[in-house]
Symmetry: C2
Subunit: 550 residues, 2 copies
């Protein structure tokens, strides 16, 4: 027996049932023409992932079901696996399951439910779904398939998060292949981890494996795809290109998977900064295209962060769709303008210079009755940043462009930024990239030619909000700061762990306090494109009013 | 056998182990002096609720355990029940339990774990905790007690969320009383629902019941307390005063609960607007006091929303700690200033008038090269709102005061507000109160005398950002809008349900689209004091980039 299987790695839009269904139908027809026996779509492919609280609307669930019924009608001479939420018929437990339907002979022939429901970091699945407790393999053609959904294969490590293991149940029915449909977002460490987990399953259960993931960005979450087929020895047969849609074909013959003729396999990206680079570009372009926005605007300060975001925006949207404002004040160095102009010319984006002094002065005189006799302080610094934010938002409103935020993760962590000032924006592009990682990203961007000017890279970081200001006046050296932040944020090391690792006690106390007391700023920030295993946003939930480590 | 039980309804601070422990110790000593045999503290009382991702730090968990050890040492001649997270010793499953420890004879004598983990609305408990599957009653003195944690008693309705019911297990050991420790936040419908659920348990299991809840606000969540003791007939023996700390005493004798001599019982507040009024005042005052802030600032527009927030702030913080800015433009009616001045005088708050024209003009001239030849539109309206926002933030920065946001729930829902303008603020006071409810709240405030001037109540709502602007120019009548919003937001009715309810189709389409496409604004808003069963914020999680109903 032979079965040709297609891995459909597609970019869906949350709740866009018409477009998602049409996209699946089109791939189904293409696959049918190519003689495919089974096409596999990703987890919750009907509605896209994550649908969040839309799942609480029965109308939304009905739309998912209608999509699957429409797909089923076309499944003659081909079978399909598709993901959707289904209603739990039992009175007890949550109202929904996270399910996969098998479509063949023009109808739904089987439905299975996800058992292990990720509820950590950015995942909230137990908020919506009842875990499955009854397991069975599905039959397609004459093959018995262990059909699993994403996390169902992940309970295989030394510190299992769940008390059950779905594959231990399914293997008892002697399936001939494992198929896993997933919605597993990108971070720079995830591709390697995913491959390792899948291979552990292959080695444990001695079966070949097909894995199909989403591609595309859903606000802050970026799906890299990376759909995979492994033979029963655990070798990769095909690997879908990252960050792009694709339809990959494999052959299941003689109990094992083989590469289908003419199917390219693209090794996954192993360079961390290349993957971050590609992810951020996809993150920007999907944020815009899925909302039918075309144009971006941002402030170009002469620093490295706004330079990198300008470059990424130009790559994602085309330089003709990017406008930068240069908004010098009395504290701006002349170098900042020159460097910005050089970058603008290299990238070919639109630019405008608006000095902020007149607006800043008018704010100062409006406030002078109240502020009389009081020394200048952070208030006046914030006023400059806010004047810039408002000028950017005015142009955003007038021209229908989206303001891109340029705050990096180090600043986001310690609250080194002005709320309603440089923290304005519809999307935070590098809010999950530490300052030291921004420099590495620039090395990658400049790997073949100088795109980001050397001056921008070598100057000392400064907010330029008062005379001769440097970031290092109020922050530790970024090398040390970022190492400490990584241990606290990504690795959840507490103060005792950090001291044991050799960090200075007063530094630990100071930095942890900065991170915790600035939660209120991050609460009001734009969605942050997630590229690390622990990004600020829905994956990190902290109280605002609290005393711990503050 | 007789046992005197104290219900300790206390206001904790998240992660403030020193203060929380001292507060519990003090109550323990008071209770001991009063001859109490058992003092009951609330769920997770050691660390306060909700600790959120602080639970991922082992240092945090150790601090909770240390608090309980300290309390245990004082438990001689008295027993205590206290809530804390404990480590799951098993390899499988989540690392923590949500637990209650029994302290007596100077040590921890028993620990039980929560089985039903609320993971919906504002709750995320399965994010952190493994559900308990092994049940036993605890023994204190000679009494066998069915000790349960909050949600453990809630699986008793017709549509049970869980597949197990802890009390069905515990009842098999023949306990003589149910004790439930809770962390159950206020909403205007919750007190009645809670009483009903507890009474259902009493009637099902034929046991008296003690219920101890938190009081106090934790950023957006407000705990009303409402701790209760019922006898085995289901009658309320004592009810702790809402929105205040208290120590209530009851006697357990002859197998039933009786009121202890001299213990007052305060019937819970049944007037919806009285309860919202009291909740919002506690929400403001705890937000400030727990962060050691004293002073508030806000913009007073002449409209009803900012008038109500000024009143609530003056009640919560004292009028001497509240400053309002009146910031007229060419579009402000003279009535707006007069009405505001009248309110300022009535309340005794500080005020300052800052006309925004000069700053607004300086923005327009800075933007004139780019905007030349383009008609004025929403951009110029937003510029006025943002100028006001920045003036408020400048005073907030200079004087260390917190800016209170005055957006109501109807505006928050449809996006009728300017990001970085009137949506600025550290705390949204009435963002969970619909416009029509704001009017009802004013009726309650003015029940004995005119505090909010009649002019402010009777004028047509207007943002005053262009000549003769009225909210009704761009929004449906608030009576209709709020009814529709309630059905969509609180009741999760989809478009088909809404049409079946008789709402106009184009109105439904228009309003649902406004709500969904303005998710990006709410994502960047201040935390909103929660008073309804479905508030914007952590209890309502919607995608930003999505096409469903938009």
């Amino acid at each position: 027996m032979s079965m040709k299987i297609a891995l459909a790695q597609l970019n869906y839009i949350i709740g866009d049932f018409e477009q998602n269904t049409n996209k699946m139908l089109q791939q189904l027809r293409t696959a049918k023409t190519a003689g495919v026996d089974l096409i596999v779509f990703a987890e919750l492919s009907t509605c896209a992932y994550p649908p969040r609280d839309f799942l609480e609307f029965s109308h939304f669930i009905e739309k998912c079901h209608a999509s699957v019924e429409k797909l089923a009608l076309e499944c003659t001479g081909i079978a399909a696996i598709v993901g959707l939420p289904t209603v739990n018929p039992k009175k007890e437990g949550k109202n929904l399951y996270n399910s996969a339907c098998v479509l063949q002979n023009g109808k739904i022939t089987d439905t299975i439910h996800k058992a292990l429901l990720p509820t950590y970091d950015i995942f909230d699945e137990y908020r919506y779904f009842e875990p499955n407790r009854n397991f069975h393999c599905v039959t397609i053609g004459s093959e018995k398939i262990a059909l699993t959904i994403c996390e169902d294969l992940w309970n295989i490590d030394d510190d299992p998060l769940y008390t059950s293991c779905p594959m231990d149940e399914l293997i008892q029915e002697n399936p001939s292949i494992i198929i896993n449909i997933a919605a597993s977002p990108f971070d720079y460490a995830h591709a390697a981890q995913r491959k390792s987990i899948l291979q552990k399953n292959i080695h444990k259960y001695k079966l070949p494996l097909v894995y199909v993931n989403h591609v595309g960005a859903q606000t802050e979450l970026i799906f890299d795809g990376g759909s995979l087929a492994f033979n029963r020895s655990g070798h990769v047969i095909t690997e879908a290109v990252s960050f792009e849609e694709s339809l990959s074909l494999v052959e299941f013959t003689n109990g094992d998977l083989h590469v289908a003729k003419g199917t390219p396999s693209t090794p996954s990206i192993t360079n961390k900064y290349q993957s971050i680079h590609d992810a951020l570009i996809l993150g920007i372009s999907d944020y815009f295209s899925k909302q039918q926005f075309k144009k971006a605007i941002l402030g170009l300060s002469g620093g490295i962060d706004s330079a990198v975001v300008t470059y990424l925006a130009a790559k994602a949207l085309g330089p003709q769709n990017v406008k930068v404002l240069l908004m010098p004040s009395r504290y701006s160095s002349s170098g900042s303008i020159d460097d910005s102009v050089q970058l603008v010319n290299t990238l070919g984006v639109e630019s405008e210079i608006i000095p902020i002094e007149p607006v800043f002065d008018s704010f100062l005189s409006a406030l002078s009755p109240a502020f009389e006799g009081l020394p200048a302080n952070i208030t006046e610094e914030n006023l400059q940043a806010r004047t810039r934010g408002i000028l950017l938002m005015a142009q955003s409103n007038k021209f229908g462009s989206i303001l891109l935020n340029t705050t990096n993760k180090s600043e986001m962590a310690v609250g080194y930024g002005t709320l309603y000032g440089d923290m304005c924006g519809g999307l935070s592009v590098i809010g999950d990239v530490y300052k030291t990682e921004v420099y590495e990203l620039v090395k990658y961007i400049n790997r073949e030619q100088e795109i980001i000017p050397t001056n921008i890279i070598t100057k000392a970081p400064s907010a330029e909000l008062r005379p001769d200001q440097k970031d290092s006046d109020s922050l530790p050296d970024y090398e040390i700061l970022d190492t400490l932040l990584y241990q606290y944020i990504e690795q959840r090391k507490g103060p005792d762990d950090l001291l044991a690792m050799g960090f200075d006690e007063s530094l630990v106390r100071r930095v942890l306090k900065m991170v915790n007391t600035n939660e209120y700023k991050r609460h009001q920030t734009a969605p942050i494109l997630r590229v690390s295993p622990k990004a600020f946003g829905s994956g990190r939930r902290m109280p605002i009013v609290a005393k711990y480590l503050s």
